[in-house]
Symmetry: C2
Subunit: 328 residues, 2 copies
């Protein structure tokens, strides 16, 4: 064997080791990781009994608490608080109207009481009048400076590294990965492609009404203060049907608001992967479920047990929670 | 040169001739075909001044009158008429309510007066109560037997062969092709993938409200009789923003209802291809524009001239209108 052949063999060996690493490296070996990998291998094995054609490999993910940290409050809520304060001088009516009143008083309890609806009303009210392009700039500007109060890093670095790996792993097996969130659509789109690899057309979320306006002689899409659709609970299913038009075969969530989406996904024919991210890690992130103000997971835990869904135990299943600095 | 080399050359030559045929074979050489091909080459040439990255190659197409025949009436309207008659015995109220009253009396004039709104109310009213899966079966069953009154062929064979070529040509250049129609979403999805190569998630249309119901212990999405959104005029722009979240660089329409979509597409930066299909061919299809009941093209023709958009002259630009029998 001459030197050229030897070095060719070396290159091939290197490719096997580094270019095809074991999947999901930040997931600890165990039942959860095996269930995910076992499912993906079963539905992608050509000729296998569980094979699913590429066009039907639809995977949906909740965002808050499933892909990024939602404690001590949804990042979108913090954004809304900051925007409300910045714009308060122009909106005297906010001092006597919820959810703006609580926002201006930094009264989180009042905001929590308004629910996902109030969260989106705050977002809609503070974004109104901007074109979608201007709004995207506002969101990017805020994300560039805002920091998580406990972790001291940008919110877009408070995403879950094992979930990023999972998204990439699914896409490598030709799944389309969608976000289906109660969060507002145009708040997510400016950063989901860079952070999650999920382009704008694969983001589904709560929507505010828009209108077409002429500005400087050109048509632009402008946000109004009116909510169009709150994408939570059963509405997540209806929104998936409207936008995608196919029932997913993979669904990940973390709260009772994701339950209808998981039930609908689970009830289709063939193999299905339904999973809940269970926040069990007070040390590295947060521990909460049945009594949480944001991301309450109560009925979901019972249903997961009854239906045999995967429950991701954040503390024990994940080697790390957030991305290392060099990665993101 | 030995025989092996000669046959290799022969294979290469064959590939050039047959595997890469001249694009858009059913478009006559001339200004229209050149404008389309020139645009596609300019935005896909790596390093070229007009280059557009793959992710931004979004092309939107109206359906009725742009991709398939909409005369003497929208196929969806004929479907609604047939469904109304089939279900009339169960809906005595229809005999005194528009648009059902006109539908049951075969009074097209009354239906025309109700516009795109009436069309979709008829569809919503006759589809209500079905799951989306059942509804898809109803649509498929109707399409399998219904025939165009003049051409005597199924409506799905009254699609425009040159436009099928254009869709395929754009996708071969890594465009995403979307349908953006005033027609009802779930009426289109059961057949757009097979006929146009446009999967369910790339179909945008008018929508009826849906609800999540439990049937036989399983969650299903059920159609209601209420209209959610009429996807016409300015709403086409708002729907594209909501579903795709990017401004297209290619837009094809054929009526004034497509005008805002074309104007919005045209007003973005960089090269744009905006085009109207002008029905000029009474012999092979229909000739209509400024005074038509379905697909009126009046302001659009003026605007196309003013902005220098492509106007497809069906009679002179297309070698054939409908697909040959062996193709579809």
């Amino acid at each position: 064997m001459n030197v050229t052949r030897l070095s060719l063999l070396f290159v091939l060996a290197w490719n096997v080791v580094y270019a095809s690493p074991a999947p999901l490296p930040d997931w600890n070996p165990g039942r959860t990781r095996s269930a995910i990998i076992g499912f993906v291998e079963a539905v992608t094995e050509p000729g296998g009994a569980g094979f699913v054609p590429v066009a039907k490999r639809i995977a949906v993910f909740d965002n808050d608490g499933t892909l990024w940290c939602e404690q001590p409050a949804y990042p979108q809520l913090v954004f809304g608080l900051d925007r409300a304060k910045a714009l308060a001088a122009r909106h005297l009516e906010w001092h006597s109207t919820e959810p703006f009143k609580s926002a201006l008083a930094d009264y989180l309890g009042g905001l929590v009481a308004t629910g996902v609806g109030g969260l989106n009303e705050l977002t809609a009210g503070t974004g109104a009048g901007q074109t979608v392009e201007e709004y995207a700039q506002t969101v990017r500007g805020w994300l560039a400076t805002a920091k998580h109060p406990r972790f001291g890093r940008p919110y877009t670095r408070c995403v879950y590294e094992p979930m990023l790996e999972l998204l990439a792993y699914l896409r490598a097996h030709r799944f389309e990965t969608y976000i289906v969130s109660g969060g507002e659509l145009e708040f997510m789109r400016p950063w989901t492609e860079e952070i999650y690899g999920v382009p704008p057309e694969r983001v589904i979320g709560s929507t505010v009404r828009t209108r077409l306006e002429m500005r400087n002689g050109k048509p632009v899409v402008v946000l109004t203060p009116k909510i169009d659709c709150i994408d939570d609970g059963a509405q997540k299913v209806l929104s998936i049907q409207r936008v995608i038009g196919r029932r997913p075969i993979v669904a990940f969530g973390n709260s009772d608001g994701d339950l209808p989406m998981l039930e609908w996904t689970a009830s289709g024919p063939g193999l299905r992967l339904c999973a809940l991210v269970h926040h069990t890690d007070a040390k590295r992130e947060y521990a909460y479920d049945r009594t949480a103000a944001f991301g309450r997971l109560d009925k979901g835990l019972d249903e997961a047990k009854r239906q045999g869904w995967v429950v991701v135990d954040m503390k024990n299943d994940w080697k790390r929670v957030f991305p290392p600095r060099k990665r993101l």
